[in-house]
Amino acid sequence: MNVDFTFDWSAALASIPQLLTGIPWTLLISFGGLAIGLVIGIIFGLLRIAPQVWLRIPAIVYIEVFRGTPVLVQVLFIFYGLPQIIGGPINALTAGIAAIAVNSGAYISEIVRGAVQSVARGQREAGLSLGLSRQQTFRHVIWPQAFRRMIPPLGNQGIISIKDTSLFAVIGVGELVRQGQIYIATTFTALEVYLMVALLYLAITLSLSLALRMLERKGLVGE
């Protein structure tokens, strides 16, 4: 073990301008993928608890497949595998966003299902007994309560997905880790640069945690 290593602060600082160019890509893949994943998750989460079996089964299959396989395999499949089916290349950014979308979508489906099912049965009965239709009861009574309960687990999923985007360096999309690798290839300052990369991820995830905590505090009035 090399015990007299030196941590070169100037090398660490010098890498920052290049690392920062990766952040827009990281954010774009994360939040683009999560936005689509939220839509997928709401749709499949509700299908998952539909009264009709033929609606539930496709939802269960989707959730199990994309929750049960690694996101790295998913992005490799989309980036290298899918072009063979569709007969044309898929750019790395699209592949990354798609992978986060289908992966987070599977987890968000379960978040949505859990939140809707956690709303007490009496709420539904109260809505129906007032003459609201099933749809109105869902929209005005069940969903607003379920949505509030979804915020903390959604925040959790957001943080996981942001970190998952680091894997996409392997398909060459110029996100944070990829920028670090490029920088290190010419400067050989792995220690300093990966520490900076880690700190930048932390800055992103901590900001999200903070934003969610504020949202939660605001959203939970009256519960």
Partner: protein, 261 residues
């Protein structure tokens, strides 16, 4: 309560608002409701008593379709409800005409008191917001909690919550009110305020079916008391008959147990 309802009641004055005939319900092998026959007339106050698990809550929950039944006839406000919860267009109509107050209040926790009361009139009846709010404030005033309209349910006591639940149901101008053990989840000191509000409603002529363990209240407000034992109506009659002179042995045993303390 409004002109439309008065016209309706005049038109159907001779038809009972609830008519159950040979109603049966099973939960697996358990026979929850056994051949129930029940008629409730306009303006009548019926109190249903019986031990826990006797089927009294299940019976009134059939009236607004929260529970399915397997066989028999059930006609509510001139609309037929079908066995096995078969989708009937009448069900939603019945629910707009029949209000319900639950043991656990079931207020909407994400809405303030006023919005709890205005939601259904606006969404179901299409009442304009300003009218719905005016009605809500009148009803909240009537149950003594007008000054709490901006609060959320969790900020109210149990008794206040149950009075909001009553106002919420009344906002739909129901022709029949169902009460499913409305005071059973309340602290003892709050039972009185809820019973007072129900008493006043009875005095105004509302048709009410009340499941309760409050025997003193039952004796005072009921036009008719029904005793249910293991899913069967065992005895019914005027409160003084049922309470003071029960004919059936099982009614006698039940009353001996609940009236002792």
């Amino acid at each position: 309560m409004n002109d439309i309802n008065l016209d309706k009641s005049a038109q159907q004055a001779d038809e009972p608002i609830v008519r159950m005939h040979g109603l049966n319900k099973h939960f697996g092998s358990l026979h929850v409701l056994n051949n129930i026959d029940l008629e409730v007339s306009q303006g009548e106050v019926v109190v249903v008593i019986g031990a826990s698990g006797s089927g009294k809550s299940t019976m009134i929950r059939c009236i607004n379709g929260l529970e399915e039944f397997q066989s028999g006839e059930l006609r509510v406000d001139s609309h037929d409800l079908l066995p096995h919860g078969k989708a009937s267009r009448a069900l939603q109509t019945i629910r707009t005409e029949v209000g319900m107050v639950f043991q656990q209040f079931n207020l909407f926790p994400h809405l303030c008191v006023r919005d709890n009361v205005t939601l259904a009139p606006m969404k179901v009846r299409g009442v304009p917001q300003s009218d719905a709010i005016a009605t809500a404030e009148r009803l909240l005033d009537r149950v003594g909690i007008r000054d709490q309209a901006d609060k959320y349910p969790s900020q109210l006591s149990g008794g206040q919550q149950q009075r909001v639940a009553l106002a919420r149901a009344l906002a739909m101008e129901p022709r029949l009110m169902l009460f499913d053990e409305p005071t059973s989840a309340l602290d003892p000191e709050m039972i009185g305020e809820v019973l007072d509000a129900m008493r006043e409603l009875a005095r105004e002529g509302m048709t009410m079916i009340i499941v309760t363990h409050e025997m003193g209240f039952a004796r005072e407000v009921a036009d008719r008391v029904i005793y249910i034992h293991q899913g069967e109506i065992v005895e019914q009659g005027a409160p003084e008959e049922v309470f003071d002179n029960p004919r059936n042995e099982r009614t006698q045993n039940f009353l001996a147990r609940v009236l002792k303390h």
